[in-house]
Symmetry: C2
Subunit: 349 residues, 2 copies
Amino acid sequence: MTIQDIADAVGVSKTTISRYLNGKYNYMSKETRQRIERAIKAADFRPNKSAGSLKSSRSDLIGLVIPDASAMLTPLLISSIIDECTACGRKTIVVSTHDDADKERRLVRELAAHQVDGIITATGGSVPLYQEISQGGIRVIHTDRLPASSPFDGVAVDHYSSSAAATGYIIDQGYRRIVFLLRQSKGGYGTFAPREEGVREVCAARSGEGVVLERMLVSDGEIGDFRRFRQRMRQICLQGDDLPTAVFVAEGLLMGHVICAVNQLRIDLTDRFTFYGYDDTRAAATSVGSVLTLNQPLKQMGAMAARILAGRIDGTVVSQERMHCFLDCAVAYPTVSRTTRLFSEGGSL
Amino acid sequence: MTIQDIADAVGVSKTTISRYLNGKYNYMSKETRQRIERAIKAADFRPNKSAGSLKSSRSDLIGLVIPDASAMLTPLLISSIIDECTACGRKTIVVSTHDDADKERRLVRELAAHQVDGIITATGGSVPLYQEISQGGIRVIHTDRLPASSPFDGVAVDHYSSSAAATGYIIDQGYRRIVFLLRQSKGGYGTFAPREEGVREVCAARSGEGVVLERMLVSDGEIGDFRRFRQRMRQICLQGDDLPTAVFVAEGLLMGHVICAVNQLRIDLTDRFTFYGYDDTRAAATSVGSVLTLNQPLKQMGAMAARILAGRIDGTVVSQERMHCFLDCAVAYPTVSRTTRLFSEGGSL
DNA sequence: CTGTTAGCGCGTTCAA
DNA sequence: TTGAACGCGCTAACAG
C-alpha cells in the first residue's frame, strides 16, 4: 500500500496525498481533504518512513546511546526518553556500548547510517566522535554524564551540590564523623568523583566544628559474601571513637546492601549513628523514612534531554549557546525523629 | 556522501560499490575489491539505510514492544535483546505501551511504517493486531508474556512449573502451611496466575500430608506505610497454628519488602518459618543465601527471542510450526541450613 | 567481471 | 486548487 493506492481510491494524484500527509491543507479543497482523510482512515494507511526519509532527510528516529542498558537505573532514563520521543512523533533506537569506546564509535556511525535526526548520549564519552557526527547535521545532546568541555547541549544531575547539601544537613544534625562509602569497582567512574568532592569540601569547610571524613571502599567480594559485608558495616559503626557517625552511601546498589546489613545487625539509627546518600529504588520505603536519601531525577532528566533535542531538531530551540542543565537530586529528608528506634516493635517473635 | 562518490573515487560504477557493500565479492576482481575497500575505509563511508530499505525492504530494524519500560526488570530483557540484535547487525526501536491497547495498536503500526523487519512483543496482547502486521511480511515473536493460542513464536518463563517445583521442595523440607503472597494491584495480571496455580496444585496434591494453602493480598497502601506491612508480616508469622509456615512471595518487588520486614522484625528463618519465591534482584545476596529464590532467566529469554526472530527473518529458521519455548527459573536453593539463625552475630551493638 | 537501466515510495519543484 | 515529472540513494535484473 502506497500513496498511489490512496490516490487511486480518492481519484486524485499522489502529490495531493503527499500534501495532505504533510499538513499542507491550504493547497486543496475542503472536500478533497475530507475524502482523503476518509480513504486513509479506511485503509489505515501509514506512509513508508524510509521513503520519506530518503527525500526529506528527516527520519523521526532518535538514537539513544547507553553505557549499559542492563544497569538498574536505566529503565527510568530510557522510559522517559522513549515516552517523550513518542509524544512528539518520534521513535527511539537504543544501543548499548558496554563502556567500550570502539563499540560506541561503531554504533554511533551506524545510527547515523540509519539517518537518525538526533542522538542522546549517556556515555559521556568521546566528544570528537559526536562532533564528527554533528557535522552531518545530526543533533547531539548529553544526558546523565556531561563532559564539562563539550560543545553540545546536556542535562545532568548536579551530584556535587546534592552531596554537599545532604552532608551539610547531616552535620547540622550533629554528626561529626562522615564515612564516604563506595564500591571499589565503581571507583574509576567519573560519575562518582563529584559526589565525593561535594562531601569532602563540606567536611573540610566545617572541620573547625570537629568534622572528620573517612573514605572506605567495599569490594564486590565482600558484598558477594554478605557476612563479610555485615562485618564491615559493624566495624564502621564501632570504630567511631565516640564521634557521632554518618555513612554517606555513594551509590544506590550499595545503599540496598547497607540497609539490609543495618537491619540484620539490628543497628538502631540514632544521633550516634546513621547513614544517608544515594537512593536504592526501595530505600525510602523500606528504611521507614528515617534515612536521608538523594533521589536522582532520572525521569525529568531524560524527558528534558529529549525535549531539548526535539527543539533543536524542529528549530524551536535556536540558542547559539550550548545549554548545560544541572538538576538537583530530590532530597528525601528523614520523616522519623532520629532518636526514634528503628525497630520499635522490639524483640523477635 | 553516497555510493556514487565512492564509485567516482575508485573509478567504477555504483553497482560495483553496491555489490561490494552486500558482500557479493565473487562478482568483482580481487583488485577492484581491495581498491573499493580502501576508498570506503578512507572516507569512512556508510550507506544510507533508508535508501537500501526502500529498495530491498529490509531495514535491519527490529521493533521491541514493552508494556512498561520503567519496570524494574525490563533492563535485563531490553539489554539482552539489544545486544543480540546488535550482534547480528540490527538495531532495536523500543516503544512502551503502558498497558494501553490503543497505544499498542498505534505504536505497532508506526513501527511497521518504519519498515521494521520484525517485532518482539512483551505485552502478550492483542494477537489480531500482530496477525495483521505479520500479513505485511513483518515477523513477530512473543517474549515474557505468551498467549497460549498465539500462532507466533514465543519465549517465556514457565512460571507454573517453577513455582510448583519450588513449593514441592519447600514441602519436602517439612513446611506445611504455605502462604501465597501477592500485591493486590498485581492481582489482575495473567502473569501471576500460573505462579499461583503452580503453588496451588502442589499444595492440593499433597494435602494428604497436611499441607494447607492460604492466599494473601497486600495493598500498595500497606507497603507505602511500611509499619503496616511489617505488622502484616508479623501476623502471618504468628497465625501459623503451630504449622511450619513458608510464605511464597509471588513477585520480586514484594520480595524486597518482605526481606526488609523480616529483617526489621528480627524474625529468624527456621524450620518453623521461612519465605521463598520470586527474586528481588538483590534478594539472593542480601538474604544470606538462606532463602530459596526463583530467578527469571530474563537475559536468556530476551536473547533467545531475538535469535529466533533473526532466524525467521534470515530464513535460517524455517519450521512451519510455531515455536513456543518455556524456560525454567534458575532456582537458588538455600545454602545455609534452615536451622541456622539468620542473625548469628547476635545482639544489637 | 562490470556497467546500464529501471524502479523502491515519497517530497518537491514547476506548470496548468 | 491540482497534477506531471524528477530525483533522493540504493538494489537488482539484465546486458555486455
